[in-house]
């Protein structure tokens, strides 16, 4: 039942994106949707017990977080532009590797946090070891800002709904 739903969802996406209704293209769609369902349907919804309401709350929190993150991405790009075009950019760079502990619990929240760190000004996640984050920061200022406001926002948007998985 669950797999059929995932397959249908993928198939609808395929039809929308392909816009071709002949047997060949639909056949390709069935093959690829089937393959993706086969290899990955288990990872789509880890916890299938949660209701629609909880999912919608999560989607809403995610939308808010995405907006905030988009703004951070714009800031990050101006930062890179400034650093790379500055005549003495080597003097502005003070790279360092930072290790810190995160309070985030769920894997998904950690994943979002790691990708957000990479997308925002002056920091790139090197690796996650359980609850330790290894981050490369391009200057002292960006290093000191870690984990900071972003971790709180990720926790508010993604971790609260996973409290039952904590520990």
């Amino acid at each position: 039942m669950y797999r059929t739903l995932i397959f249908l969802l993928l198939m609808v996406l395929w039809v929308i994106f392909s816009g071709q209704f002949d047997a060949f293209h639909l056949g390709l769609g069935v093959l690829s949707a089937g393959f993706v369902t086969w290899i990955s349907s288990d990872c789509w919804f880890e916890d299938r017990q949660r209701g629609l309401g909880a999912r919608l709350t999560e989607a809403w929190a995610m939308a808010g977080y995405t907006l905030w993150l988009s703004w951070q991405v714009v800031v990050a790009n101006f930062h890179v532009l400034y650093l790379s075009l500055h005549p003495r950019s080597l003097e502005l760079l003070k790279p360092r590797v930072v290790l810190f502990k995160t309070t985030l619990k769920s894997d998904f929240a950690k994943y979002v946090f790691a990708n957000s760190i990479t997308l925002t000004p002056g920091t790139v996640t090197i690796m996650i070891m359980d609850d330790q984050f290894l981050v490369h920061a391009i200057s002292r200022k960006t290093a000191e800002a870690l984990p900071g406001e972003m971790e709180a926002r990720v926790a508010a948007a993604f971790d609260n709904h996973h409290k039952e998985e904590a520990g």
């Binding site: 532009l81 760079l93 003070k94 790279p95 997308l119």
Partner: protein, 111 residues
């Protein structure tokens, strides 16, 4: 006219950020700092350029052109999701391989 202007502004902004990223990749001192430039410069500039293309599509407003615009934006979403993941994979590979970060230590080499 206004659509054209908006689309050109978006595409040019994307190109400026791409330029910054490329210059950064060339000028920054080591592997890690170059990844900073490559990883961040890509995402926003590609999304901006794709948004410019999408705006071009809106000249004749129909279901078909809206669909094309939506597909273009979907590409942008996939880039935004995969770009940091690949940056992170490269960084981890470099770190595992014992790459030393560049610093302001003596001799300008690793600290």
């Amino acid at each position: 006219m206004i659509l054209n202007l908006l689309s050109v502004v978006l595409i040019v902004a994307g190109l400026v950020f791409f330029f910054g990223a490329s210059v950064g990749v060339l000028r920054f001192p080591d592997f890690y700092t170059r990844m900073h430039a490559a990883g961040k410069g890509d995402s926003l500039s590609s999304v901006l350029i794709l948004a410019g293309f999408a705006v071009q599509q809106l000249h004749d407003l129909s279901l078909g052109s809206l669909l094309v615009a939506a597909k273009l934006m979907a590409i942008g979403v996939f880039i935004a999701l995969t770009s940091p993941t690949s940056t992170h994979a490269l960084m981890e590979a470099g770190y595992d391989d014992g790459m030393k970060p560049w610093g302001h230590g003596k001799g300008g080499e690793s600290q």
